[in-house]
Amino acid sequence: MATVEMTFTPLPAHVRTARLVATAVARRSGVAEQLLDEVRLAVGEACSRAVEVHQKHCPDEPVRVALTGLDKRFEVVVTNTAANDDGVEWPAISDLGADGQGLPGELGLAVIAGLADDVQVSRTGDGLSIRMSWPSEAADAAR
């Protein structure tokens, strides 16, 4: 069972709330202060992506976020339920053109990959989930 679970209407305004909650739970779960910015940004990217996909394919369905303090790890799972989300291919950031025209649509996922200690993208039921985790020291206290 997750330490904290939340669902939110797929609107950009709620992504900030998700970021704030994730950062607070990460701190309480023992994630080091210097990693909290990375958690905040990665969770924001995952939620932004989920909001975008939901708005295109299923605007009435909520985005789901699960925050869990595991043994020495803090894990975040952001799940969308958009059946038309065809999974992802990690974008090649090195392909960025000098004029930025090569900017990939999945830049957010590239940012997540650069920030999170461990990232897994998998299909779950009708949608897609992004699972990210970071080391934590005092996860036991937050469970």
């Binding site: 950009p12 992504v15 940004l41 924001g44 990217e45 932004s48 909001v51 004029d99 930025g100 830049l107």
Partner: protein, 116 residues
């Protein structure tokens, strides 16, 4: 914190001061401002990000879009940023090779003037 945007002209270069968070919610406002500036003939831009507290890939996309627009008019878009938490995002995405990133507005303007 919400997003605050102000802009002024210094030495013929339009300086955009950004304060707050640039994310999926607020980035459209920055995009609109950059488009307005280009549409009004401002092709030399400096975006001062010293008071930006958060920047995500949506914000990066807006900055790249602004860069493309000014370059279409042989213009430039330079950034001012010394915050490590923001610079890290540019490094992860390789965009440090795309933007001129400076330590101060004065430095950005001087560098731009010297290239003319």
């Amino acid at each position: 914190m919400d997003l605050k945007l102000e802009h002024h002209t210094t030495d013929g270069i339009e300086v955009v001061d950004v304060e707050g968070e640039i994310d999926v919610y607020t980035a459209p406002r920055l995009r609109e401002l950059l488009i307005d500036l280009v549409n009004n003939g401002h092709y030399q831009l400096v975006v001062n990000m010293e008071k930006v507290e958060f920047l995500d890939s949506t914000g990066l996309g807006v900055l790249v879009g602004g860069l493309k627009r000014v370059r279409a008019h042989d213009g430039s878009l330079d950034l001012v940023c010394t915050q490590e938490r923001i610079l890290k995002i540019f490094r992860i995405t390789g965009l440090t090779k795309v933007f001129g990133i400076h330590d101060s507005v004065d430095e950005a303007i001087t560098a731009r003037k010297s290239e003319k």
